[in-house]
Amino acid sequence: MRSPVLRSAVLGLGLLAGAPPLLAQASATTSVSITADVVNGLNIVKVSDIDFGVVPAGSGANVLLATDAGAGRLHVFGQPGRPVTVAIAAPAALTSGANALPFAGAASVNESADDHAGATPVPVGPSFTIRLRDQGPARNGRVGYLYLHGLITVGATVPQGVYTGTVTVTAEQ
C-alpha cells in the first residue's frame, strides 16, 4: 500500500505530465536602423578622393582614368532642370614637403547616372555647365556625377614620399 505522500506526489507529477507544453510559443525581436542624409539646395558631396596609389620612381607618366577605382567621385545636388555652373581648380603639382610631382588634372561628368563609363570629359580650369536631371522616384534624384582623375609624371629622381594636393570644385545655380 502506497503512502498518502507518495499518492499525492504521483498525483502532482501526473498533473504536471498532463499539462499542456509550457513552450507553446518562442519569439525573438531585433531592430535595424533606417538612415538618410538629406542635402538641400545646391550641394557638392565628396564620395571619394583621387588616389594614384603606390607609384614607383622612374615610372614616367601614370594615368588615372575616370573608370579606375582610384578616381575621385563627387555628387552635385541641386534643383532639376536649371543649369549648374561648375569650376574645377587643380594644382599643377602634388607636393611632399619641398618636393613636387607634376600633376595634370582631368574630369568628366555624367548628368543622369552614377556611371563613370558613360561620363563626358569636362575641362579643368574653365567653368562649364551641367544640367541636373530629375531622375524621378529613384534613389539619388536630381544629382550630377563628377569624376576627377588625371596624370602624374614620376621621374627617376623623384624622392620617395607621400605626395598630396587639393582639387577644388565650386558650383553655382
Binding site: L6, V38, G141
Partner: protein, 181 residues
C-alpha cells in the same frame, strides 16, 4: 490557562502530508528552469527557440529635398534580417514589424512610407523565391517541414522629403519580431 493539544487523527495527518506533497510538486514546477526563447532546442519538439539576426540596415543614402526616394525590398540598400527556428513542433512563424512614421534629425522629421510590397520574405537568397508582403500588416510563414527552419526578410520603403527639408542625418528604427506559433 494551560492549553491542551490533541493529536490529529491519522486521517488528518495523511491529508496534511498529501497536501504538502502536492504543494511540493507545484513548487518544483514553478521553479523549473525557464524555457529560454534563445536556448538550444535542436530536434526537441518540447524545446523551441527563435532568433532574429540583423544582416543589414535600410540605407537611403543621399537624399535631396522634394524628391521621393524608393528602396525596394530587392535593393541592396533594403533592411535585411534572418529568422531561425530551432526545435519545436511547429513550422509556422508569424512576423510582426514595428515601423516608424518618420526619420528624425533633432527636431526635424522626414516622413517614411511603407506600402503593400515594401517587404519580402524567402527561404533562400534567390530573387525569384521572394514573397512580397505589407510590413505594416506582417505575415505568417509556413516553412517546409523537410527544409531548414529559417527564412530571410527584406524591408524597403519610401522617403518623402519636403521641398524645404532641412539638411541633416536622419535615422529611425525598424523592429522585427518573429513568433513560432
Amino acid at each position: 490557562m494551560p492549553r491542551s493539544y490533541a493529536p490529529a487523527s491519522p486521517t488528518v495527518r495523511a491529508a496534511v502530508r498529501g497536501a504538502l506533497a502536492a504543494l511540493l510538486s507545484l513548487a518544483l514546477l514553478a521553479h523549473a528552469r525557464p524555457l529560454d526563447a534563445q536556448g538550444e532546442g535542436q530536434g526537441d519538439p518540447n524545446h523551441s527557440s527563435v532568433t532574429v539576426s540583423r544582416l543589414g540596415d535600410l540605407v537611403f543614402g543621399l537624399v535631396v529635398g522634394g524628391a521621393s526616394v524608393v528602396v525596394r525590398p530587392d535593393d541592396p540598400a533594403a533592411a535585411h534580417f534572418e529568422v531561425r527556428v530551432r526545435g519545436g513542433p511547429s513550422h509556422v512563424v508569424t512576423l510582426t514589424i514595428a515601423l516608424p512614421a518618420a526619420l528624425l534629425s533633432g527636431p526635424d522629421r522626414l516622413p517614411v512610407r511603407f506600402d503593400a510590397n515594401s517587404a519580402a520574405w524567402a527561404t533562400s537568397d534567390a530573387p525569384d523565391a521572394r514573397t512580397a508582403f505589407d510590413p505594416a500588416r506582417g505575415t505568417t510563414v509556413t516553412l517546409d517541414q523537410r527544409g531548414p527552419k529559417s527564412l530571410l526578410v527584406w524591408i524597403g520603403g519610401t522617403l518623402e522629403p519636403m521641398q524645404a527639408q532641412p539638411s541633416g542625418d536622419y535615422s529611425a528604427l525598424i523592429a522585427l519580431s518573429a513568433v513560432e506559433n
